[in-house]
Amino acid sequence: MADEKSGGTPLLEASLVIEYPFNRTTGPVIGAFLTGLREQRVLGIRGVDGRVVCPPTEYDPQTGDPLTELVEVGSEGTVTSWSWVSNPRDGQPLDHPHALALIKLDGADTAMLHVVDGEVATGDRVRIRWADEREGLITDIAAFERIA
């Protein structure tokens, strides 16, 4: 424990783990989206300007007005931006190097944040790889993969 010296005083240290299995109520919009993922379908929601927001939010991303019209979008899309995760951290969807990416699904007008398994470039076409066991979480999408 006392591993360093500072001014002659050995320093104490200890590991501290802060963890909790948080409960999150979803409300009807997020709930519908997550229910859809469990069923291997993706929902968006129509914004005040008619654009489809995906993943869907209860409110418009600019004005905050309530949104109610959920619509189904595709499970393939286009990468709008990406960065490379060389050293994946605990909890990230993939434990090997991968891309963090923004993906605009077909039929949606905004991009979803997720990961792409394998190398990728802006403008690439990608599709959802579903998790084998799905429970209604964003991680029901295991990753996206490039469409060759």
């Binding site: 104490l12 200890a14 590991s15 948080f22 999150r24 519908a32 069923e39 209860e58 189904e72 209604g136």
Partner: protein, 195 residues
């Protein structure tokens, strides 16, 4: 009988009309009809930190490992703080002089706990005590045992019961509990401002 108990109108008021609530969304057919829609999710989060208590608490904890209670003195007012956090909170200046305190003190305040928390909690009911060590300006927390609960009183004299020397670590848990000393009580008024 207190007047409140005579209150016989026990109807629960109703919510006002016309309050805003979130409009219900329309859900496309394949999802709308799914059994057991998601309403609540469980998302575990685990974070790892490397905790360092700081210079003054380290000095204090190293003292505890040697069975010493080392308070630290306010450089302006002379008050001795224990456990020290490195600062006099009154003047906002670092405490630098360590002062060894005895493990005898006076019961400054207490309550009787009927629901304990954690593996170290004694069997309930037990007395959770604030002990003002002789020479200190603020009290330390502990459990008071070896006395019937109804005999516990503010101002009574107490002493620390330590773990065996072989079990001493850099932890306040070195003091297992406090027990009564056979000495006259101190006046409760002298403890005000120091609990």
């Amino acid at each position: 009988m207190p007047p409140a108990d005579t209150d016989t109108d026990r109807t629960v008021s109703e919510m006002p009309d016309g309050l805003w609530s979130m409009p219900q969304p329309t859900v496309p057919a394949p999802i709308a009809d799914v059994a057991e829609p998601i309403q609540r999710i469980r998302v575990p989060a685990s974070m790892h930190y490397r905790y360092t208590p700081g210079t003054a608490p380290t000095r204090f904890l190293l003292g505890l490992a040697e069975k010493k209670i080392l308070g630290e003195r306010d450089p302006v007012n002379g008050d001795v703080y224990v456990p020290p956090r490195g600062m006099s909170p009154v003047v906002g200046l670092p405490t630098t002089e360590q002062v060894e305190l005895s493990d005898h003190g006076s019961l400054a305040a207490f309550c009787v706990v009927h629901i304990g928390f954690g593996v170290n909690a004694p069997p309930t009911p037990f007395v959770s005590a604030l002990v003002l060590l002789d020479g200190a300006a603020t009290s330390v927390y502990g459990t008071l045992l070896e006395i019937p609960i109804e005999e516990v009183r503010i101002g009574m004299r107490v002493e620390a019961v330590w773990v065996d020397d072989a079990e001493l670590t850099t932890s306040f848990e070195n003091i297992r509990y406090w027990r009564p000393l056979d000495e006259p009580d101190v006046p409760a008024a002298t403890l005000q401002g120091h609990m």
